[in-house]
């Protein structure tokens, strides 16, 4: 896969200045549920009712230094990989159920900048389009080094 030119699989190394570490205190986890994988979560779970939901591509949590404190805090979580996961049609159905039946408040979709990650945003956009109940959907694109490249709201 590394030789096909796909940006999602291309080998890269980042130089980090190890003297610019964050605060020495440990950062508490903001995760408040289990499971988290989109195939495993139930849209009917109580922690999704009326919640602000974060749908995060698997890699985002590793790319972002502030994933827990800035993005996961106060939200219920589902994670997925639009490149490697199978049976993704069920993802669209689950997202629709979250919007229609769990009456979620908002959906924030956090994806990497690599092209394959757009698929996850596509699932969310399709669920929103097909859902009888509309919710604000925020699309956030993260660079390989954890910077926010794009942050916008989808049309309902």
């Amino acid at each position: 896969m590394g030789g096909c030119g796909c940006p999602g699989s291309k080998m890269m190394a980042f130089d980090r200045d190890e003297t610019t570490e964050g605060p020495a205190v440990s950062s508490p986890s903001q995760l408040r549920q289990w499971p988290v994988q989109l195939h495993l979560v139930s849209p009917q779970a109580p922690y999704f009712q009326g919640a602000d939901v974060l749908l995060a591509a698997d890699c985002t949590a590793f790319a972002m230094g502030d994933f827990h404190s800035e993005w996961l805090k106060g939200k219920s979580l589902a994670i997925a990989c639009p490149k490697l996961d199978s049976e993704q049609e069920t993802y669209v159905e689950k997202l629709k159920l979250l919007m229609e039946e769990s009456m979620i408040n908002t959906l924030t979709v956090l994806i990497m900048q690599v092209p394959c990650c757009r698929g996850l945003l596509g699932h969310a956009a399709r669920a929103l389009k097909e859902s009888s109940r509309k919710v604000p959907v925020r699309a956030v694109v993260v660079s390989l080094q954890g910077e926010i490249l794009q942050d916008e709201w989808l049309e309902g």
Partner: protein, 287 residues
Amino acid sequence: MRPANPGKLVPMSAGPDEGAAPEGTVNEHLRTPIRDIIARFPQVGALLEAHGIGCVPCSLGTCALGDIVDIHNLSPEAERELMTAVGALVAPGEPVVLKARTTTAQKKGFSPPMKTLVAEHRLILRFIALVPAISDSLDLGREADRLLVAASVDFIRNYADRFHHAKEEDLLFARFDRESDILKVMYEDHANGRARVKAAVEALERRDRVGVAEKLAGYTEILKQHIRKEDDILYPWMDRKLSTREVGELYAAFRKLDDEYGEKAARYEAFVRSLEEKFASNDAEVA
């Protein structure tokens, strides 16, 4: 008014606890109403204009300089350029210290609830654009024209005010400090608009054609400026301040209000469309 010698200026969009400026310098100027600063240093008005900040024509001018710079969300480079120039005018030779900024990407476009309000503005502006034609053709001796004014007042009161301004005042503004300078300006605009409409109704009852035309023109002028302030300054600022949770709550509250209002919104849109067709065909006949 401030004392003649304003003291040192350390321009920065910082609150009183930032601690980066010498005591008695930054807060004194950043908390000064912009009208006082412009009155003493008229070139500051031109500097603000050059950065797209239109404080000079504001009838109130009570907003503090620091809030104005914060609300307009200039790029770090533009803010440094502006505040350096303001500092050079107001306190020459004093240091300029700007607040450190994070470099996260700015959100593109409005959030869904703000988009709703902006879309409602578009319909109100379409109506406002028709008011001169309505006034020009007005003959209050004709029942049809009296009904047209009454229908226009109904649009203003029930769509622009009861429906749209209720979303703003009861739901959106309620999440912010009602006593803030910028919201005081917005509430005052709403109140002034209502007063003009009330006066237009009174003129209609007297069958005073000139009075109706003048009051409706006054209303449209207030609303045009008001909508520009909201679309260009207030809403972008509020959108940056709202949390994701609040965006979702506002969106749900607006949709509930839309559902309660039912088909009336569509009827008001049809009303504006019918006026556009009527006055477009009148123009064609004249041409």
